[in-house]
């Protein structure tokens, strides 16, 4: 039969090896191994559980979906798909730079920047108390909350949906 060039290599590399000494111990005391395996399994299950809890926490409290985009059309479509709310963002909101959107705990958050400072428009979050930096209103059965770093930013942020 035709011998391939790698046959001697395989025979050499796959050659028999010596079994580790502990193999006899494991054959003689299979229970010892099972006990270790059980402990190992419990530890692994605990690790998996801890990871799942952390992920669940992050998913619930930090938001399980997010969009990073500066495109008002894309953000509007995403928010509508996620929460069923149509936020009429303008195509080019003057003085406002859109950053993206998040969706968590049934609340949508559209993130933007005004003069380099962060701001957010929340839809269907908790009813906030209006102030010089926060403005809350209800419309079409949804609660809207506009938050900014300064009172001036709040005025500019109105441009998200309205013509200044």
């Amino acid at each position: 039969m035709h011998r391939e060039w790698f046959e001697p290599v395989l025979a050499h590399q796959l050659d028999r090896v010596a079994a580790p000494e502990e193999l006899w111990e494991r054959v003689r005391n299979p229970g010892l191994r099972r006990k270790k395996e059980r402990v190992h399994r419990i530890v692994n299950a605990a690790r998996v559980g801890a990871c799942a809890t952390i992920l669940l926490f992050v998913w619930i409290y930090m938001g399980h979906g997010g969009l990073r985009s500066g495109d008002p059309g894309e953000i509007r479509a995403w928010v509508k798909a996620q929460a069923g709310v149509d936020v009429p963002l303008r195509a080019r909101p003057a003085g406002v730079q859109l950053v993206g959107a998040n969706f968590a705990k049934g609340s949508v958050e559209i993130v933007y920047r005004v003069g380099g400072r962060d701001g957010r428009l929340k839809v269907d979050g908790r009813h906030a108390v209006s102030s010089v930096r926060v403005f809350t209103w209800s419309m079409d059965g949804h609660i809207y909350t506009l938050e900014c770093a300064t009172p001036e930013d709040l005025k500019v942020a109105c441009n998200l949906c309205h013509i200044g």
Partner: protein, 189 residues
């Protein structure tokens, strides 16, 4: 090769009577063979230990039913082969690990570079073999680790020698394609 000699027969008969010292003798005689098949098939020392342990426990549990007219080694091989296949079916870990690399870095008797090159080649070959389909991989292991003939492999696997030849041929084609890049390294290492 697969025929029991008088001593083996005595040892097996003693095992069948429940003599634990005899089982130790049997274990010592066959442990390297069992572990090597498991290691070469799984590509992972931890998986190989599990498979080898399970194989010997099966031997221990079933040796009373073993009939001397059947070759002991053939019987043992079948147990190991089935344990390997079962282990894989159960979806246990079967991957090469970094143990070889760690061992290579701590080597004293040869240069670290040379050892690393050799380990790289070994790991590559082991990894490539471990990626073969199970039935082809088992034929490769029995052929190259154990040096069995096609007929002997066919008996272990319960198929014809023609099937063994065809599986080996398919495995060779895959191995040749995947091992080509190692051709130079094999010569150097």
């Amino acid at each position: 090769m697969l025929v029991l000699d008088a001593n083996d027969r005595e040892v097996i008969e003693a095992c069948q009577r429940g003599d634990s010292d005899a089982f130790r003798v049997l274990f010592e005689a066959h442990k390297d063979r069992v572990y090597s098949i498991a290691l070469r098939y799984s590509g992972d020392p931890a998986a190989a230990m599990d498979i080898a342990q399970e194989s010997f426990l099966k031997v221990l549990g079933a040796i009373r039913d073993f009939r001397a007219e059947a070759g002991f080694e053939s019987w043992l091989y079948r147990i190991v082969v089935n344990t390997c296949l079962d282990y894989q079916r159960r979806g246990r870990r079967m991957m090469p690990c970094l143990g070889g690399l760690i061992e290579a870095v701590s080597a004293h008797s040869e240069t670290v570079l040379h050892r690393l090159m050799r380990t790289e080649v070994e790991d590559n070959i082991q990894r490539i073999v471990a990626r073969l389909p199970p039935e082809q991989r088992m034929v490769v292991v029995l052929r190259y680790t154990e040096g069995l003939s096609y007929e002997e492999i066919a008996r272990m696997l319960g198929c014809s020698a023609g099937t063994v030849a065809s599986r080996l041929n398919r495995a060779h084609k895959i191995l040749e394609r995947r091992l080509t890049h190692l051709r130079g390294a094999v010569g150097n290492a």
